[in-house]
Symmetry: C2
Subunit: 436 residues, 2 copies
């Protein structure tokens, strides 16, 4: 039933192999097994394997791929290697691939396949079925939908195999086609295309240009990859790194440093503002060293509350659940949430300090006032962190950046400085005349 165990076990191990090991393992496969495996690999691996083998064999492998996958492969290899790969294609395919490369990788045009079934509206049902039958021999992406086009390539409607099966034989395609066709413009962002397909429950959507001329189709199996890789990109940005181009174990040490050191250094430089804030309060700290005890606790609570809020909103924006214009509704929700969360932590903090003081006398004669300072600061810091964390994704999107850059580390860094200012301001009010 299943594919031979060698292919299966190689497929399992594949993500964790380095390029030379992959090449060796691939070349050790029987030709039949290799034919099964090759089309299921990532575009990066397909490019690597195709470039590593002799031209005659390369032709064989690349012929297995439809033009949209070939365009992905070309986008994964160095530009100087494009010629080598393009030469391995037959002339019509080469032209199709070149046309696809003109689109951005992340838009509908870059995802689509130009190989779909065109049907003329005046065909009768049996003729259309015979035509679809002939197309099944050709290399088209899907024979399940026939797209009905006029002379000018404008999309009039769509017929499914099931529609034709079910239709009376004397009807024409125009009479049985569905005219309420969901289509997407060629420059639509791939995340948006994914949402359209997911909501429509279609196997494929047609891509049309500004004049309504059909250019290709995006199929649902491409969308699974898009959804997966967009989520990966967002998750990596939200963790405070640049998105990796390759799977974790395939990324070189240098590539790893490149994606991480930049953000880490930026965060470090911003976090230096805390050093300035702390320097500003050196007088207060020298007079009341006991205040330092709670500095990490207070600033990290603000950071934690902020990263909760930013994470929820980044994801809600990515899924289209929240738009820019909803910002005021979000402000009101998050203000309330932040205040409640702050009060909860303040109660826990108050209890902890009073219990410790009763048990160990840790915090000196003004322990009650210190506890009040900590509790008051927690309410302010958590509420501020929550609000700041929820607004940062809106601000980033408004400025044209990716909201996912509002990573937990970024939010925590932003909130830390304000956390210190809030803490010492509350301390100055509560402890004036006693400790300060």
């Amino acid at each position: 039933m299943d594919a031979p165990s060698t292919v299966e076990s190689l497929r399992e191990a594949w993500p964790r192999l380095q390029d030379p090991e992959r090449l060796e393992a691939f070349q050790a496969l029987s030709p039949a097994d290799a034919l099964v495996l090759f089309p299921t690999l990532s575009a990066y691996a397909q490019g690597m394997l195709a470039l590593a083998c002799p031209p005659t064999e390369r032709r064989l492998w690349l012929r297995l791929l439809p033009p949209d996958d070939l365009a992905d492969v070309l986008q994964e290899v160095e530009p100087e290697e494009h010629v080598e790969l393009l030469q391995a294609l037959d002339a019509p395919t080469r032209a199709e691939v070149r046309a696809l490369l003109a689109y951005g990788e992340d838009e509908a045009g870059g995802l689509m396949s130009p190989r779909y079934v065109r049907v003329r509206p005046e065909l009768r049902v049996p003729e259309a079925m015979a035509y679809l039958r002939r197309q099944a021999h050709e290399r088209v992406e899907t024979v399940y939908y026939g797209y009905v086009l006029d002379q000018g390539q404008h999309l009039l409607g769509v017929v499914t195999v099931a529609d034709l099966f079910a239709a009376p034989v004397e009807r024409t395609v125009r009479e049985v086609m569905r005219t309420e066709v969901v289509s997407v413009p060629e420059d639509m962002d791939q995340e948006h295309v994914a949402r359209v397909i997911a909501e429509s429950d279609l196997l494929a959507v047609p891509v049309v240009d500004a004049e309504g001329r059909m250019k290709g189709i995006v199929t649902v199996d491409d969308i699974v990859d898009v959804v997966q890789s967009e989520a990966t990109e967002d998750i990596q940005k939200m963790g405070g790194t640049a998105a990796l181009d390759r799977p974790y174990l395939q990324t070189s040490l240098l590539g790893m440093l490149r994606s991480r050191a930049g953000w880490l250094a930026v965060l470090f430089l911003s976090e230096m503002l805390t050093a300035s804030a702390m320097a500003h309060y050196q007088g207060e700290i020298a007079r009341a060293v006991v205040l330092t005890i709670f500095i990490p606790l207070i600033i990290s609570s603000g950071g934690n509350a902020g990263s909760q809020a930013s994470t929820l909103l980044i994801r809600a924006m990515a899924l289209g659940e929240v738009r820019l214009r909803d910002w005021w509704r979000v402000v009101r929700r998050e203000m309330a949430t932040g205040l409640y969360l702050g009060v909860i932590l303040a109660c826990i903090g108050l209890l902890r300090i009073l219990v410790w003081e009763a048990a160990f006398h840790s915090y000196g004669e003004h322990a009650g006032l210190v506890a009040l300072t900590v509790a008051g600061s927690l309410v302010g810091v958590v509420a501020w962190g929550t609000l700041a964390g929820s607004m940062l994704p809106f601000l980033l999107r408004r400025l044209g950046f990716d909201p996912a850059s509002a990573s937990a580390p970024f939010v925590a860094t932003l909130v830390d400085v304000f956390g210190l200012v809030i803490y010492f301001s509350v301390a100055e009010i509560v402890l004036r005349g006693t400790l300060l």
Copy 2:
């Protein structure tokens, strides 16, 4: 071409409406528009709308849904409302839905549809095509694959519409069917099923029980939803909240607090260890107040490095790129990465302190030694943060928890205490005899 603008605009606004607004908007639609919209809504919304309308209408709406979607709807409503919804179904559908409810929501059995096309192996090609044609009138999930079963319901192979189109008419199904069928067991986790479908580029995979008997099919459009919602769940956990059951704007204030307060309080309680650590170092702080200036900078750098590492590894594990047994390879990579990152930050920190000292004389007579303390601590804290952040997802998975719980806030909290200990230990070595 497009669906009427009222449905389109409602579909756009839908995620941001509250339940009563949704009900009102839905009831205001023309019946034709409502028929288009209903099947594309979330299971939660379908359940809400179905329960809100009179039984005769309810029957109409629920008949639009295949049994797997109906099972999802039942899983979204309160158990006491199951009877009401089940009564609205015809007897065979009710039986199918009941059978599906026996499976876990997150496994292949819970995703599958029992409505697929069965074909007998001894049929000849024209008979099989005529049979598929009749099925196109029935409510089956997909007519594109015919599954070839023996008397005991064991899966022998699969034929596609395209195969039948292309096959000589005198052949039997057994002769033209594909026998290398990718199938999944009924208890396979839905994330794993999603990976199988994504890799196989199939429109549907058959689900079989332990004896190889076919139970149903999982179609690729269900998988888009699975991939999207699994990513949402991981992202929310990684941001330090419990996963939300509903879209952001549909979650009540109480639900919001429930999903956030728990983790925030746990993190707060753990972060109290920093208060104990700080209390332990009160003597050193009183003697060298200048050390406090860099506390937020140092501990947050460790937290940032740690959340980068944990994020990359959580995602790599979710995508199957890294397994538990790869932990030692990851340790070696992350040790090297962490040391390099630590050295980079140490250089920036050293430079910053020396420049500030030259310009403003901020850090007293021992500024050079303070700079050395900060630089040394940064190497240690960033390397430790990176290692701890990368190992926490492994530890959690090993213990049977979800690695995604290794959220940025969780890692930062873990790293903070050790960051303080490292900082003050380095200070004791470097500053002994001068400041300390």
